[in-house]
């Protein structure tokens, strides 16, 4: 909240005046109230590898993460530029591969990459959109200095928390929202449905039939799948509900088979179609990739979109943005050492204590090393893993992240956060919901915000001008 130690940053001024007039005991009680509210909604989170705590609430902090209109405008420009570049990159990498021919990124990075799907070669999805929904993870290190941590171009989750966090805040502090004008996020499901429908294939119904495909109730994000289907007013389906009927993917309903035009799938590529990918998958739909390649259905996000958010590709994002947009990237990239490179590996091994090391295909904060927070033993164990499979890792410096306040027992205290704004791409526009999911490290000084690693969330406010 404090920009440079001289009082709160400008966007927080009005909130701080309000906060000063509140009774601290009442605010602490509100935190408990929020928890009850979340339990009632049923918004819980399954943590992989923690059987006993299968359904847990993500801790919620009642102090919002506040962003000024001006800051947001810059962020939004940067995100839009990045999402356009990602879609251009995906089209290129599955067609002429100009970026490889131009030598701007090494061929090995694609040719040895499992996220590059040969089955997508020559496929042009309706409207040229590959990433219908993107969740770009962003951190701030200073005034107007934003870094992208990850692009999350496969199936970014967390949007239900963005919506529930706001609803909870509106419910608990109605007066606050009439005092401070905050831009709305509640129309996200409506926009999502509109954006997906705008990507329907030729010959779709009017309006196009949209559905959400979930792996089922055992998936950690099942709540979000059913929540989004419900909020959009569309069917939530599982693989066994769908089959190929007259060349299209249709769902069984009480009225017979209804063909689906746009499928928002929350299943990984590998499980999508046993005919085309993993033959053992029981979650997918046999033949859906064929229907897709015949142009009979839109799959969001496109299969193979993951090649753009691979952590090794990430390190080339500044080049990718420049190659396809002709502009310098507005948002910065965190400097990244690719451990496949011998010099980089040597440097990383020397400096493990200062670096964050991540798996190239990892997510959710699993399998990563945060050097400054790790013990000597942990570092030694990680060094062994790194030496065994260097190409599996990238390393980044720990950034001097700015902090935002959270409410603790002893009052407000600074904590590190990241922000995941949600981006909707359709042929005519790129729409970024003002705000997003703010994740916060609850331990003082911690840099790990992942909910699977004990992080919490807060409401994100973009102020109206």
């Amino acid at each position: 909240m404090n920009g440079n130690g001289e009082g709160p940053r400008e966007p927080y001024c009005e909130y701080c005046r309000w906060f000063a007039g509140e009774d601290p005991a009442r605010l602490r009680k509100k935190t408990q109230e929020a928890e009850t509210f979340f339990r009632r909604t049923g918004i819980t989170f399954n943590v992989y590898g923690q059987e006993e705590a299968a359904e847990r609430l993500i801790p919620f902090d009642i102090v919002p993460h506040i962003i000024s209109d001006r800051e947001w405008a810059r962020l939004a420009r940067g995100i839009e530029q990045r999402v356009r570049a990602i879609n251009a990159f995906l089209h290129d990498i599955y067609h002429r591969q100009e970026i490889l021919l131009a030598g701007r990124i090494p061929v090995d990075l694609i040719s040895n990459n499992e996220a590059w799907l040969p089955q997508m070669v020559g496929v042009s999805p309706p409207g040229g959109i590959y990433t219908h929904i993107v969740g770009v993870d962003i951190v701030r290190t200073g005034e107007n200095e934003f870094f992208v941590l990850e692009d999350n171009a496969r199936t970014p989750s967390g949007v239900s928390y963005m919506l529930e966090n706001r609803e909870t805040m509106l419910h608990m502090f109605p007066g606050l929202f009439s005092r401070i004008k905050v831009r709305e996020v509640s129309d996200y499901p409506k926009k999502l449905r509109r954006s997906l429908a705008a990507c329907a294939p030729a010959g779709a119904a009017d309006p196009p039939v949209v559905a959400v495909l979930t792996p089922g109730i055992h998936n950690s994000a099942y709540f979000e799948h059913s929540f989004l289907a419900d909020q959009m007013g569309v069917e939530l389906v599982e693989g066994h509900d769908l089959s190929v009927v007259e060349g299209r993917i249709a769902m069984r309903t009480t009225q017979g088979f209804t063909p689906i035009d746009v499928l928002y799938r929350r299943i990984d590529d590998d499980y999508l179609d046993p005919l085309c990918f993993n033959p053992d998958s029981m979650l997918g739909v046999p033949g859906i990739m064929d229907a897709y390649r015949a142009g009979n259905i839109t799959i969001a996000n496109a299969p193979g979109a993951g090649i753009s958010d691979d952590k090794a590709i990430y390190s080339y994002m500044p080049e990718i943005v420049e190659f396809y947009t002709g502009e310098k990237a507005i948002l910065s990239n965190v400097p990244t050492w690719r451990c496949s490179d011998a010099d980089a590996l040597a440097y990383v091994l020397e400096h493990l204590g200062e670096l964050v090391v991540k798996e190239v295909h990892g997510s959710g904060g699993y399998g990563m090393l945060v050097g400054p927070a790790a013990s000597k033993k942990e570092i030694a164990a990680f060094a062994a893993k790194l030496k065994a499979r260097p190409a599996n890792y990238i390393a980044q410096p720990t950034l001097a992240l700015s902090t935002v306040p959270i409410l603790t027992r002893s009052g407000l205290a600074p904590r590190h956060v990241d922000l995941r704004p949600f981006v909707l791409a359709s042929p005519s526009r790129i729409d970024i919901t003002p705000g997003g999911l703010t994740r916060v490290a609850l331990k003082a000084g911690s840099l790990v915000v992942n909910s699977s690693q004990g992080g919490g969330t807060k409401d994100t406010w973009v102020l109206e001008e």
Binding site: S111, P118, G295
Partner: protein, 266 residues
């Protein structure tokens, strides 16, 4: 040469099928050295769902079997005008990048036997094409043509070790070795008109390797020649799996019998 092809595949099942989807890669592509004059696929006991072109520009038709059925037959027939291009297929085209054809697949993973056959070739060759012809001849010498020993899942290395196999195994071994030698290589499934008879035992398979100076060049290892005007290319892939005439899933019954009748004639 104008070739008339009739290819019928009949499946019979022990019990009623609950659900089955099959991808057919049976339609020849018009390309260098061949022009498809007419072609049709007829399905009895199922329906055509859709068609598309895959990453190798193979024409793929997806068919579903009638639920509860016990038999299905697929008739693929047409006429193709061919010419002799001395096995040369020309420059690489399409969106699948050349480096893709260096990928190792399960069926074409090189092992000690593949490495041995490559090493035994030596380096004494005037050019790439003579090296690859020598490879083809070495494979034909070491792996005698004998149907019934191997099947569609046999690996190149296994067939090489066994010393017996069919055209599919020859092609896989050639592909594995050629990639090991640094050449992009691919599997070709198609038809060959045997000179002495119209009835053919099965559809044929051979391999193509990419040589910088010449582009794609075909090698029919089993017959020791490069394809001429008696050959019709139908589908290509990294190995049999990507070029299989029929592949898919069936649910609800176990055993099946398959009868293929194939005629190729002028």
């Amino acid at each position: 040469m104008r070739l008339r092809i009739t290819h019928r595949t009949e499946y019979a099942y022990d019990g009623p099928l609950a659900y089955a989807l099959q991808e057919l890669r049976l339609r020849p592509k018009s390309s260098h050295g061949q022009n498809v004059i007419s072609w049709s696929t007829t399905v009895d006991g199922g329906s055509k769902e859709l068609e598309f072109h895959d990453q190798h520009n193979n024409h793929v038709e997806l068919i579903s079997f009638n639920p509860g059925g016990r038999a299905i037959s697929v008739l693929s027939a047409g006429e193709v005008e061919t010419s002799d291009t001395a096995g040369l297929f020309g420059r690489h085209g399409g969106y699948a990048p050349l480096w893709y054809f260096n990928r190792i697949t399960d069926r074409t993973r090189p092992g000690p036997h593949t490495r041995k056959i490559v090493k035994a070739l030596g380096q004494e060759f005037a050019d790439d094409i003579s090296r690859l012809h020598a490879l083809s001849a070495a494979i034909a010498r070491q792996v005698s043509y004998l149907p019934g020993v191997t099947d569609a899942t046999t690996l190149a290395e296994e067939a090489l070790e066994a010393g017996k196999g069919v055209c599919q195994d020859h092609a896989h071994i050639f592909i594995a070795a050629a990639r090991l030698m640094g050449f992009p290589a691919r599997y070709v499934s198609g038809y060959l008109m045997m000179d002495d008879r119209p009835e053919q035992e099965a559809s044929h398979a051979w391999a193509e390797a990419h040589i910088d100076a010449l582009g794609w060049v075909g090698f029919d290892i089993s017959n020791g020649i490069s394809p001429d005007e008696r050959y019709v290319r139908v589908a290509t892939g990294l190995d049999y799996g990507e070029a299989a005439p029929v592949s898919g899933i069936t649910r609800g019954t176990n055993a099946e019998s398959m009868i293929v009748t194939l005629q190729v004639q002028q």
